[in-house]
Symmetry: C2
Subunit: 449 residues, 2 copies
């Protein structure tokens, strides 16, 4: 039984040496037993020239699947070295319709039609043409056409016979779907029932009609939420008349979930593009600079505010500038994060914005009063002037309450207008709260001191 | 065909009214066709007293499954209203071994043995006893014992017959596992092969030995990474001798992935406990206060530093305190986030800490020089004193570089010592960088001004 292989440094060095010396036979022996995911991992760890060489040595059947495991950029590069004919017959024909569609949609415009026309299997080509019509982030864009489908009027014996026929064209049997004469989805048939039932029973008598499906235009995140909520491994996709079109499997949806979670996390951390630690210095810089520029702008504004409030004659206010700024930022990010996560999990929907704000006000008051009391005590013990102690404590309470409400309100509002609420987290909230915190602090300070 | 139901406010209000008037028959009609996940959603949206009442009205078979869909706290509350006998016969006997084990492990210590001894199905009880020995966050802690297992020496006809027997005890057939006479896992049998092969062929001739398994002691995050990498829907679990023990399905692993992503996101946002926007004000406050206290402490330290550096006679340095503090925090969080995400995806392993730091230095220098140049230009245009412009620009460059290296180094080091690297993100990095940024800023300022 083949185990997952550890692709370690030693292995990669050995392989690099073999590539340098063109030892194709030895390389083939080394990689022939590897899982496609492992081969893909190797390809993304070595230089692009070596990757090209290695890719040529993989069996045709495996190489199409390896391609699907690679990052889009690497895949595009490797495909650009193949002719349209090779892409059609060696890659596309070895892929299921969803992956095949992804590959074709990534090709340069002028090449798409050409590759489509070169596919020898007509059914496969027309499936792909259909799928190309769906936006990538819909159920239709995620689904594959390959599935096992039986008619409700067949008996179990007929059913097994037909399934045998269909199974030869499907890589993996997930669920057996039952349709009526108009191809409308009626339900599913469990393998268990099929195995346990007499051969002459009609399918309609053992069909399980308790089946959840999604329309082809459903948003991909919503498909992920539905599959997750109902613990589904595969979900059928239907058109507006209920006709069975295809199915989506959990692995495709797991990618959606992961990407969504990563996107939110990156936004909260002030990273604007989807980058990984292995990306180039230039890509990483570009992904991070935009939020830094916002912070920079906020800092300049802050300097103006401090200048405006005559810091020269109220210099002791300077002591607690970092505290007020930091606390506003921290509270704002916390509040926004809880809203963003609630929206992502679909758990915020019954409560209105108003009730969320009321609750957040409660949390903010509790946290604010606690923090204010502590800071009042601490500054008194540390013998700061009493006026300053009062100013800092009051400002802190005001800033915490304000930042919390603002941190809740902004993502909820963005979401209402169909803008990604995660935009509101991270540096945006921090910067805005920095500025507003300073204004509150100095206004209270000037009033008291 | 049942569709996913929209559990909206109207529905909940109608239901609440029915509960208030004890209209049990009408409630039963309303919920009898609902999916268990929908019933669970309703239960978590209504008050706990109403939830109790509603829970009593659900069919026994369904109620056990509904329990598994609920948050741990709600489940514990509902279970506390049942006798040990009821838990054993109505709940445990209707659950697969993995869920049953979760329920029992959540019971109060003294009740565990009692419930175990009251389970009527001996095989089920001994499966659960086995599973209770595994830590929750291991492959053994995630697996279920129910599976379809055939011997390599059987022929396909025998195989179908045996499968029929086993299938009656297994809720859902995922994969057919092939073992030898010693119960050692040999491989899997695809349904497709079984359907397409003559009835007298021996299983060992059509078994697929290319099967990935995990040892029972494997860490749960690692199981999730393996299933994700190899696109697996179910993975078999073996002991150290390769004996088949159970299987883990993707839905359990998806929960691990989601929880992990949420935990990282919450840590980055300064939230210490796993909370949701629907939790109580008190829970939300408790989850957020710890990081605020750290920020508070940092702010006090900052006040001391500013006092120490004689701000009275260098009051213009106060202008850019917010800028320096904010930029240090932002850069630190960005750097830490990229490392944390890389570690979570298992993509950081070949590169050493040193090469990561070198790359981060490159990114930081690029960003730092850009930001410094901009701030130098801006402060010149805004006619700040030239000495202050130079101080701010130089400090900013130093702070950005330092914060980036620190933000990279800390999570990598935590990870090395098996501490969750996400701890290093969010308020921790922000606070430390605030303080160190201030020190750098004032040191440079005093040297130049």
């Amino acid at each position: 039984m083949s185990k997952k292989n550890e692709i370690n440094n030693n292995f990669l060095e050995d392989l690099s040496d073999l590539i340098s010396t063109n030892s194709s036979q030895k390389i083939k022996e080394l990689i022939c037993d590897l899982h496609i995911a492992d081969i893909a991992e190797i390809i993304s760890e070595i230089s692009i020239d070596k990757a090209n060489y290695l890719f040529q040595l993989i069996d045709e059947e495996k190489s199409a699947l390896v391609l699907m495991e690679l990052e889009e950029e690497v895949r595009e590069h490797l495909l650009s070295l193949l002719s349209s004919k090779e892409i059609a017959t060696e890659v596309i024909e070895n892929l299921e319709s969803d992956d095949a569609t992804d590959v074709i949609s990534e090709l340069p415009e002028r090449q798409k039609e050409e590759v489509l026309s070169l596919i020898e299997d007509n059914d496969h080509a027309s499936d792909i043409s259909d799928l190309l019509n769906y936006p990538e982030d819909t159920a239709g864009g995620l689904m594959a056409k390959e599935l096992i489908k039986v008619n409700e009027n067949w008996n179990t014996l007929q059913c097994l016979k037909e399934m045998r026929k269909q199974a030869s064209e499907v890589k993996k049997v997930h669920t057996i779907y039952v349709v009526n004469d108009n191809d409308k989805l009626i339900g599913s048939l469990s393998l268990k029932k099929l195995l346990l039932t007499e051969t002459k029973v009609e399918i309609k008598e053992i069909v399980n009609t308790d089946l959840i499906s999604v329309p082809d235009r459903e948003d991909d995140e919503s498909v992920a939420n539905i599959m997750n909520k109902y613990d589904l491994i595969v979900i059928p996709v239907v058109d507006k008349n209920g006709v069975l079109l295809g199915r989506i499997t959990i692995d495709d949806v797991m990618d959606v979930v992961k990407e969504e979670a990563e996107k939110d996390y990156q936004m909260a951390s002030g990273i604007t593009e989807d980058v990984e630690s292995s990306d180039s210095v230039w890509q990483l810089t570009r992904a991070r600079l935009p939020w830094l520029l916002i912070g920079l702008f906020g800092g300049l504004l802050g300097a103006n505010i401090i200048g405006f409030f005559d810091i020269e004659n109220n210099f002791e206010l300077a002591f607690f500038i970092p505290l007020i700024a930091a606390m506003g930022g921290n509270v704002g990010v916390q509040s926004a994060a809880i809203v963003v996560q609630g929206l992502a999990n679909d758990s915020i929907k019954i409560n209105t914005i108003f009730s969320k704000l009321t609750k957040e006000l409660g949390v903010a008051l509790l946290n604010g009063i606690t923090c204010s009391a502590i800071i009042f005590g601490a500054t008194a013990v540390l013998q700061y002037p009493i006026g300053l102690s009062i100013t800092v404590s009051l400002s802190l309470l005001a800033v915490i309450v304000f930042a919390a409400l603002f941190g809740t309100f902004v993502p909820l509002t963005l979401n209402k207008y169909k803008i990604d609420p995660a935009l509101a987290t991270g540096p945006f909230i921090t910067t805005v709260n920095d500025i507003l915190g300073l204004v509150i602090y100095f206004l209270i300070g000037l009033a008291i001191l």
